[in-house]
């Protein structure tokens, strides 16, 4: 058994394993991240996504700094639903505001929602997952997982309405609700990884040798869990933006006059037959942003785990089959919306 473990502790580069590196992902921990970055740099899709996202963030950032806020909020009843023209590059909306300017300011809000939700979801989810997984089988594991069950059981709509009543509707409530429903998937993911790692041969053998399980777990946790969590995090950003859109559709999104891509899309409905461009641009922005983020996630995932591109020999030490853990996005939109 031990032999097999050693034999499978191959890095794709094929170097002979360094005994002190038993149980480590591939090579020394420090160069692992360098290797990962190198692989990412060669991943076309990931780079494309990064470029797209950079462009979006830059245009939103620069745009909102350069263009006066007034431009996005100024209603002009004389110029309702104008098609794109030189004065209004993307036309005007249902109350005469410039769509392009509004799109940029809405981007600020939507991107904030996306990233904050992902950050909070990952932070809470990772913590919960690590704790639950490490103490797998004990009371605290049960408590955490059942708490997740409780939150999952309450329909998202009810949670949102309830929180909106308590905290008042708006940006803060929206972020809290979506984040509150995103952490469960990540927790489950992390917990599954931790459970697996607990049982791997190298952990057992390392324990036998005398390493403390806590430190060991941590050193192995990061490379093994980082991949799926990062991927899940990027998917959470996308899903948060989409969920905000769905909430706007139900009338529970960001309140006027604050623009968000979601509520721009919702408000565009009233004029969809005579002025379809009002909804077209926010819709495209949402799609492009979420696409970019998903590309980045894909790039990260492939960079960390290149076996998908190259057929390896053996596998990661202790790596067990379910790729499912790597792949489960936090789908708070509901898996099907």
């Amino acid at each position: 058994m031990k032999g097999t473990a050693a034999a499978s502790a191959h890095s794709p580069g094929g170097r002979a394993p360094d005994p002190s590196a038993i149980g480590q992902a591939s090579g020394a921990y420090q160069t692992w991240s360098a290797k990962t970055w190198r692989r990412f740099r060669h991943h076309a899709l990931g780079l494309l996504g990064l470029a797209m996202l950079a462009a979006i963030v830059a245009s939103v950032g620069i745009g909102t700094a350069v263009i006066p806020e007034r431009a996005a909020f100024f209603t002009d009843l004389g110029a309702l639903r104008q098609p794109p023209s030189f004065t209004h590059l993307m036309g005007t909306d249902e109350v005469g505001r410039d769509v392009a300017a509004r799109l940029l300011f809405a981007g600020q809000i939507s991107l904030t929602v996306g990233f904050l939700v992902a950050f909070m979801g990952v932070a809470v989810g990772t913590l919960a997952g690590v704790v639950a997984g490490y103490f797998g089988g004990h009371l605290i594991d049960t408590l955490i997982m059942r708490a997740a069950d409780v939150l999952l059981s309450i329909p998202q709509l009810v949670s949102l309405i309830c929180l909106a009543s308590l905290l008042g509707p708006g940006l803060r409530t929206t972020i809290l609700v979506i984040a509150g429903l995103s952490w469960m998937e990540i927790a489950r993911l992390v917990r599954a990884n931790v459970l697996r790692l607990r049982e791997t041969e190298f952990v057992h053998s390392a324990k036998a040798v005398g390493c403390s399980s806590g430190r060991l777990l941590l050193r192995h946790l990061i490379p093994n869990t980082l991949a799926p969590v990062t991927v899940a995090a990027t998917l959470t950003v996308g899903n948060a933006i989409l969920t905000e859109t769905a909430l706007s559709y139900l009338g529970l999104g960001i309140q006027p006059p604050t623009p968000s891509w979601g509520n721009m899309l919702f408000n565009a409905q009233i004029a969809i037959f005579e002025a379809p461009w009002i909804g077209l641009f926010p819709g495209i922005m949402i799609m492009v942003t979420v696409l970019a983020i998903n590309f980045i996630g894909e790039g990260i995932r492939d960079a960390i785990d290149p076996r998908r591109l190259v057929a390896p020999l053996g596998g990661w030490p202790g790596q067990v089959r379910p790729a499912l853990a790597d792949d489960s996005p936090a789908s708070t939109q509901g898996p099907y919306g």
Partner: protein, 562 residues
């Protein structure tokens, strides 16, 4: 050759002649029929509603306009109300009035007489026993009737045979004939069909009805189907109507355009703009009784025992009225269909014609605010005693048109130095009761925008303004949520409610309207238009000035081209 009937010629020649004549008639019919617009009997239509009724009887359930109307097709009231606001007999032979002795001099005794031969949809005759049964049903606590105005004022009903009865009221109730014999809350329930059953269950599927259509099925979440009632005279033209629930506005318009729907009921002004130019659709838009208005809180939202720090000053209220450009909103956002409002009685015959719409005048607004001590501050917002002129504006969240209007108004008021902060709530929270900490009734607002109207066809709107109706811990169901307390206004309303004489009521109501107008206790934005969009092939649609009947008051006269 067969033996024919008497006088029928036989033989090939006559056969040929018959064929020729028949053919000739067919040709003639083919030529004439496209130009005939006589109603054709038969056909089934699908009409869309965006909200489902809770029940199909007015006695219980939510009074939503778009769904309450379906009951018009099923139940016929004893009296109808025509577009001029006059009462017209329907099931009754005549309208009881003081002049014809139908209403006694003291207003407390009313005599009614049913027409001969009026029947329920199962062929049973409609009698005054059903009237008595309905009265007992409505006033019985077990039923949980929601609307008992007028009905609860009845002291006794004495039948004289099957078709006649004398009603004795407990006290004078001027709108009795309107509210309880005509209008939406008047139709009787069939005793022989309901007795012994749980009314709430029966009301979901009324087996026996009195209107032009009878009930077929109610599939919750999907549709309600009704078909022609053979016992209702005059017979309805249509075979059946299906009221389909369509929850998405764009989908409804899409279905109208694609022909999947024959009509969309209770739509709004922007919907008319969406179907403009579509040759297959007709938009019916008529002024209704609903008015989009602002409640201006006269009490401090933080402490209801204190007056509002900003809105108790009449000049501020007037400034708000001058500062909002209602005409621009009506022209641009509402497609020019809606009219700027003056009072809540705008489209009724009780409107005080001496009052005219106030034009937008930001300069005047500015000077009024200056006069009131609100001086323009650095950030473009007026200040007084170090406090900014900031007001929260609340309406129903998720209502696109209102949210858009808020943004426009926010900008218009910014011009005159008012900082409007938008704070929207879902309807269940905005209109929640005192016990539930609802925003409106707890006074947790500065300005609320909502649509409201007079109750039924009766012009009384005192419930908004009576001092005795102020919502408070002692009176949690009071409707005067703004906390308006004006002794002269109280007097005008008391005068109006105490008499059945139309002329006197009109005079008192004119006074009441003028006081509200001068004092700007409420800001009336625009008169909401009742809108129905239908396929060209559907004819006979007529608007009822009655705010509850609206479009479905004459479904019996609808017909569709084949």
């Amino acid at each position: 050759m067969k033996r024919g009937g008497v006088g029928v010629p036989r033989g090939p020649f006559f056969r040929g002649a018959q064929v020729l004549v028949a053919a000739g008639m067919l040709v003639l019919a083919g030529v004439i029929s496209p130009t005939l617009s006589a109603p054709q009997s038969g056909g089934a239509i699908v009409a869309a509603i965006w909200q489902e009724p809770d029940f199909l009887s007015w006695v219980v359930g939510d009074p939503c306009y778009s769904c309450a109307s379906i009951m018009q097709a099923l139940f016929e009231p004893p009296l109808q109300i025509d577009n001029a606001g006059n009462l017209v007999p329907s099931l009754l032979e005549t309208v009881p009035t003081p002049q014809n002795g139908g209403i006694s001099a003291d207003g407390k005794t009313i005599k009614i007489k049913l027409k001969q031969g009026v029947k329920w949809s199962d062929g049973q005759p409609i009698t005054v026993k059903d009237f008595i049964y309905t009265w007992k049903l409505v006033t019985d606590k077990e039923t949980g009737a929601v609307f008992d105005q007028g009905w609860s004022d009845i002291a006794s009903i004495t039948p004289q045979g099957d078709l006649q009865a004398t009603i004795q009221l407990k006290q004078v109730f001027a709108p009795f004939v309107y509210k309880t014999l005509a209008d939406h809350y008047a139709p009787w329930m069939p005793e022989h069909a309901v007795a012994g059953k749980k009314f709430r269950d029966w009301a979901r599927a009324p087996s026996v009805v009195s209107g032009p259509f009878k009930f077929v099925e109610f599939v919750s979440g999907d549709h309600i189907t009704v078909e022609r009632n053979p016992y209702f005279m005059p017979r309805a033209y249509l075979d059946r109507i299906t009221f389909k629930l369509v929850t998405d506005r764009s989908a409804m318009i899409a279905q109208l355009k694609a022909g999947g729907l024959d009509a969309g009921i209770v739509l709004s002004e922007p919907d008319v703009i969406s179907v403009k130019g579509d040759p297959s659709l007709v938009a019916y838009a008529e002024p209704g009784n609903n008015v989009e208005l602002w409640l201006l809180n006269q009490r401090d939202p933080q402490d209801l025992s204190k007056p509002h720090p900003i809105l108790t000053d009449r000049r501020v209220r007037q400034a708000l009225l001058y500062g909002v450009n209602r005409q621009a909103i009506a022209t641009n956002m509402l497609g020019g269909i809606a009219k700027v409002a003056v009072t809540i009685l705008d489209n009724s015959s009780w409107f005080n014609t001496a009052l005219t719409p106030v034009p937008s005048d930001p300069a005047k607004a500015g000077s009024l605010l200056d006069e009131a001590g609100w001086k323009m501050g650095a950030g473009g917002i007026r200040m007084k005693d170090g406090k900014p002129l900031q007001l929260t504006h609340s309406t129903t969240s998720g209502n696109q048109l209102r949210e858009q209007m808020q943004v426009v108004v926010q900008q218009q008021l910014k011009q005159i130095g008012v900082d409007l902060v938008i704070k929207d709530y879902r309807p269940a929270e905005l209109f929640g009761s005192w016990a539930n900490n609802g925003v409106q009734f707890r006074g947790r607002f500065d300005i609320i925008q909502l649509g409201d109207s007079i109750i039924g066809a009766d012009p009384d709107f005192s419930h908004f303004f009576f001092t005795s109706q102020i919502t408070s811990a002692n009176n949690p169901s009071g409707y005067n949520a703004s906390g308006v307390s004006d002794p002269q206004l109280d007097q005008a309303f008391t005068c109006e409610l105490s008499t059945s004489d139309v002329a006197k009521r009109k005079a008192c109501l004119n006074t009441a309207q003028k006081i509200v107008y001068d004092q700007v206790y409420q800001i009336y934005l625009y008169d909401r238009t009742d809108i129905l969009i239908a396929n060209k092939k559907l004819h006979g649609i007529k608007h009822q000035a009655n705010p509850v009947a609206m479009w479905l008051g004459n479904t019996g006269q609808w017909w569709v081209e084949k």
